[in-house]
Symmetry: D2
Subunit: 378 residues, 4 copies
């Protein structure tokens, strides 16, 4: 694979590389790691890459790789830049004939998302979006339980993602991760909801299959001077009558990455926390609570095909991320080999990306209007 973004100092690029490495199926061979060509070059050195395939910018890379013989060029590119660069990079590589794995949120705005959807469809290439939390086996188990009707009708979803890292004004201090995430020109119309609220939304949709109908959002910038919200609370309504509470925060002091989801059905309920991802709690109206643990034979095949090690030996974030890569790689391999009946593949797609962008923009609109705001899907 090749990579765009993810140079020295970047966080998510390194995660993508570990996820890709883990199972020994994917090899990083090319990259444009930074908008600064020198930094890109040095990052390539760190990664022991052939200097000829470390590019100064992404367009150069797309051209350069496309010019290589088919069996030597990259199969796909992983896009790990700040949000505003997702669309142009994805467009460029898709149009150059490459498959794409892209970090979330998918684009800068809904308009780009709609356009990207068109491009993906036209290119006929694989496009995978790394909503990585859906890679956890116990999240897959949760989805399967809903699909199997074990929860009955889903009535309510409570999804939350509190973090605390932005309570200090580290964006103003120039911390790189903080700076771009709170800069409207790079992050888009939202910081907190765009960066992590969208994970909560995606997770709820992945598990329940429900689509949002309307939201009522309350956004706050608790750290003064911050241009985008660092805290967002939402009431949500799903098509079909389910209700929900969804909130995210970057200023919830002492929280790390405390993504949690609870799904309440009329027969049973689920609870899952990403900080303790090998556990899935199931609650019943009239039977003991259950603790389902990753890797056990009593879980569904959908969860268990993503196991690497026995139950009790915890798997975690990188493995979940790698599961997205495994499925994307499977789809890409099948596409390359002309296999067309091996799906479905279990990774987030351009449709999920569009839905995520709609969620962000509807939330932003609701927060501005101070009112319930319906989804308008294109």
């Amino acid at each position: 694979m090749g990579m765009v973004g993810g140079g020295r100092d970047a966080f998510i690029g390194a995660v993508h590389r570990m996820a890709a490495n883990l199972d020994g199926q994917i090899e990083l061979v090319a990259g444009a790691f930074s908008s600064d060509p020198e930094k890109s070059r040095l990052s390539g050195e760190d990664l022991l890459l052939d200097p000829a395939r470390v590019y100064g910018d992404f367009e150069q890379m797309a051209r350069g790789e496309a010019a290589l013989p088919e069996d030597r060029r990259i199969d796909f590119v992983a896009i790990v830049t700040p949000n505003h660069m997702h669309f142009p990079v994805a467009k460029c590589f898709l149009e150059a004939g490459f498959h794409v794995v892209c970090d979330k949120p998918m684009t800068f705005n809904v308009e780009e998302a709609v356009e990207l959807m068109r491009i993906v469809s036209q290119a006929g290439k694989v496009f995978a979006l790394t909503h990585n939390y859906t890679g956890y086996p116990m999240v897959k188990e949760a989805r399967q339980m809903v699909r199997d009707g074990k929860l009955g009708k889903v009535l309510k979803v409570v999804a939350e993602y509190p973090q605390g890292w932005l309570i200090r004004d580290i964006d103003a201090e120039g911390q790189k991760q903080a700076a771009w995430r709170t800069d409207p020109a790079k992050a888009g119309a939202s910081s907190c909801i765009g960066d992590i609220g969208t994970h909560a939304e995606n997770l709820g949709r992945y598990i329940t299959g429900l689509q949002l109908e309307a939201v009522c959002a309350d956004f706050t910038s608790f750290v003064s001077g911050r241009r985008l919200e660092d805290d967002g609370n939402l009431l949500v309504r799903y098509k079909g009558g389910a209700k929900g509470v969804l909130y995210a925060s970057q200023v919830s002091v002492g929280e790390e990455n405390s993504l949690m989801i609870r799904v309440y059905g009329d027969k049973a309920s689920l609870e899952w926390r990403q900080e303790y991802p090998n556990d899935l709690i199931v609650k019943y109206p009239d039977a003991p609570r259950q603790l389902l643990r990753r890797g056990n034979p009593y879980l569904s095949a959908e969860a268990n095909r993503f196991n690497r090690i026995p139950p009790g030996h915890p798997e975690a974030f990188i493995e979940a991320f790698a599961n997205i890569y495994l499925e994307a790689a499977r789809a890409i391999r099948d596409a390359i080999n002309g296999v067309s009946d091996a799906g479905p593949y279990d990774f987030p797609t351009v449709d999920d990306g569009l839905e995520g962008m709609l969620f962000i923009e509807t939330a932003v609109a609701s927060a501005k209007a101070n009112a319930w705001t319906p989804f308008r899907r294109p």
Copy 2:
């Protein structure tokens, strides 16, 4: 003490009696335990009371007790009826010269609450409202931490109270506890928020001292045919800029009494769950998370004056309830003895009751209007 309500089959009356018994300072000597005189009589027998002091109705009881010599009559009455009877009973006993301990929510509506406030003030009697969760020592510790500035400025409150017991339509089946709670004529304008959401509101206010400014509520009756909401989700805004999420449910399958509150300050954050009440978690931006445990010398005097047993030996619901009684009894004793400088007393008052009724009515109004609704305080 005397008791109105709490006959056979009642739940909360028995809790009040255990709470009153626990410390050997309060003795139940009289009661009107049911609107059905025969049932009242039988309940009195169960409790080994003097039949002469088991009354057929509360007015009879107020008259009967007032007619006894001062050293033989009850000092106060505990009101444990369904909501619609709180006001008339409280009014009757206050006007007859008795102190009152009353279950929550205080009255049937705001109008009654305002009137009761006037009556309490005029009577010069003690009025204690059993928002019992504020009786837990670790909740008191939480409040003290906020007061001592350990959390810094409070930014956000997340308070939730999910239960699951009403997922079956047991109100229609005639289960007594369920039936009155979902009957607008007995419970008032709200079921779920009135019964348990109000506890979450009260708990947040007790700990933070913050007052609500506006709410946006989404109410649902998930069980068909139910006349009041069995699920309520709220976004809330506090005076001074803090934000919050507050929700309650009676149809969250598998939840028991999972009241939880998280308070986020700009220096530290708190987390407390009533199902594990001896633990208080404190989170910091740059130091290890702490687990504070009831009964330890490192806690504040405000928490520790309510200990009965050493740390590690759990105290729980009944003890917390008894703490409300202990403080109310102290206030009543001081009032009887003419001691006027022994306060403050740590129990919920008629002011808390009014605030609770305002919360309920504002939430109901917001849910109807489908919009943010400001508090209008009388």
Copy 3:
């Protein structure tokens, strides 16, 4: 009831009184609260007792109460003195015709235990020993599960009771609770194992019904100058082939009263912690782990007849203690009323007390011999 011991400064006496008060069935009316008559008198005042029934010593009390008309005298006495006084007080009251509730360990040594067993049998009175942890509903559920064969054959028991309060040499500093517990003349041949190890032993036996066959003990006095062990580790073997690990400590820094038991069967396993007593974890070889919670309809009748409040509202230490009192009171009431067919009663008896003393003495012998030591039952 009457009480011997439990004056000002005492810990366990107050617990006994709260346990007895809680359900409004038992009234404290007499006592010899201290070996110091003045202190006894003052304690009686604190408790608002009739001064005529506050005695200077226990023998006086036994005589005094026996001299009262039958309908005015106490029905039973609660013995809450240091260990060395259990036997003489119990003997005195049993022989004076009173029922007895006695704190644990039952006596000072096995010899006294055997003798007490004889006296109880001869007196034909109720004798209840407050191994209070067996009063927890979820412990009763655990026992019922074993009895119902849900665990299959019990293979292994791991019981532990670490405390940390004696890491400082507070016994030398004169802290009263510490001083007598580490004094061989008052506590007996063991401190840590006698005070709390014996609870672990009793709990294991209560749940599994298994009897010990041999132990190998390692005792340590970590705090220098302490005359009895403050830490004891044991390997144990049960009749029938089950094995176990049992340990207790008073110097496990930071532990409070962390009694925990795990019982492993060949079909399922159990885990229970007294610090979180409303939870019982059940583990299966091939099914999800279960969390059983107090008060739910899915529990056995044996557990549920001890509920006071709905599930999710935690019950705790005092309630468990009160459950021992409830059952002892039921037995005493039945004895008084000549009811002979209402058992079995669920409280620890003189047989449990003897077994506990055998456990202590066998452990002490093993620690001295530095070798496996078999039980020799009289």
Copy 4:
């Protein structure tokens, strides 16, 4: 690197490969994956290796690799065979001039361990033993806390490793992992203690630095017909006076890989569980309990140099395993580059392996003798 063992069906070989892959620093290029040459060949195919470097047996491999030019041959071999093959393979590769990473327990018996120690020393090569649990960052933090004196003097260690997978007689049914682990000819003198008890021993020693002085072991084969113990309980004594309890089981129904260690000092205590490895609990005599979480700046440099991702994003088993590889690879690289002053390296060595074998043999001897048994170090 090259690998011996770890063909299709093997568990630990795959783990070693993922651990080696994760950070993109190590590449698997050769192997003898099975004692069955055909199976070795197929495994090599699965792994996309050059068939020329997939060998039929380990001796062939050592010769073959040694014959390659220095810049093309493997730098080290990873040995992931059953126990009885560790020594011959390690000997062979060390003598052929390769560094070695070897699974635990190090050898079949103490005699081999002593001999291996000699060989390693003579060869002057790196020898790393994969006691992988010491790779967890929070275990490293625990060690650093002990080293920094934060626990004061260590008084007691409680280490346990219950599993439940062997409750069914799957060894007799031919399950491969079970079969060799319970076969004295392949596993050695012990099954349960040799396989997992040794992890508990190693973990205790890693954190505390204490050496065992004597043990009293009780071994049981609960599943009838099993030739080695499937459950082992030990009391242990450390040099310098600390005491301990150590147990392991393969028949603790419902346990997965529940390795837990508690270390009690006279100033503070530690608790760590491998199933929730990002948490380290620290307990104090007179301050709130702390929860230390992986990746936070308040941790020691010794822990934090092993982080890959931010706090709250869990790392787990494979990452910990990879940390052993990272350190071993660093040592190997330094050895290759002639760097001699870059240590210390944080991985288990041949000394740890010898200590582990001594532990196993002393435990076996104690269980046979039914008595306390001192360590006799060569």
